[in-house]
Symmetry: C2
Subunit: 142 residues, 2 copies
DNA sequence: GTGTAAATGAGGACAGTTTTCATTTATATT
DNA sequence: AATATAAATGAAAACTGTCCTCATTTACAC
């Protein structure tokens, strides 16, 4: 029944408790973008004794299987999110860490044009816009 | 006379041999984009016994002073380049590591528009296009 | 149920970078 | 030019996020 089992089987991964639980955390946690540490802590809080190394392994396997995607944020740790099939880029609040998503066809297109212009066979790109989110701007007023 | 001394003084940094030498490496090395390790090795090769920690410190200070800028490349180490006053983004060859630069006003503008749309006060952005450079594509044919 | 390949946990390893602290140095002052 | 002092340096240790090793456990095909 629970959809996760199918996801794992389809990905050619054995159905194990750590995998099910990691997947569940990714699904039920309010923030869509979680670091390995975030996932690990959420697991502990929900009473699961799963090692951090396993969390990293599982997330990396999920990435390979196309179940999650990894963002490599500026200098340091990565965050993971459930793959939703639609490419998008990110806006990050440098003050509170909030992450918002966006899609911009103009930018996507220009990137391809630039790669072509330079003779590159483009494989992927990474684009992050940093700034101060609306909420943090308002808080600063006081 | 040597321009570097002025640069350092202007930046409010004492004129020291390590700083002069790091600056010189950045100026004379063929590749414009160098990791701290690259700079360190180049220093050793040119007969300067400067510690890696100092290289990191100096590069970070130069960054703070606006003399160099730092690129945080996907997963791991940073590279540094002399600041030339003109913002640009980068294309990276995933095969040979070559880095090319580009400027695209359309993308720059769209980024601002997106930030505005989401209520963000944009501070900066990071954009990397990954792919296989022309030369690497040709090599693969054989 | 059994066998076997795969997955896990614990802890160590690792890479890139930063910090600590004793020593040296640049520069302002005499 | 000698001196004082704040700043810079080198060496080594610490740190952080992530990955690896290897002994043990588990999933699942038979
Ligand atoms: Mn996202
Ligand atoms: Mn550049
Ligand atoms: Zn915010
Ligand atoms: Zn190449």
């Amino acid at each position: 029944m629970s959809m996760e089992r199918q996801d794992l089987r389809k990905a050619g991964l054995k159905v194990t408790l750590p995998r099910l639980k990691v997947l569940e955390i990714l699904e039920v946690t309010e923030q869509r973008h979680l670091s390995a540490e975030d996932v690990y802590k959420a697991l502990l809080e929900s009473g699961e004794e799963i090692g951090l190394a396993t969390v990293y392994r599982v997330l990396t396997q999920f990435e390979g299987a196309g179940l999650v995607s990894r963002l490599s944020i500026d200098g340091g740790h990565a965050v993971f999110e459930l793959e939703n099939g639609e490419h998008h880029d990110h806006l990050l609040c440098v003050s509170c860490g909030e992450i918002q998503e966006f899609v911009d066809e103009v930018i996507e297109e220009r990137q391809h044009a630039i790669a072509k212009e330079k003779g590159f066979q483009m494989t992927e790109h990474s684009l992050y816009i940093y700034g101060i989110c609306k909420r943090c701007q308002e808080e600063r007023k006081y």
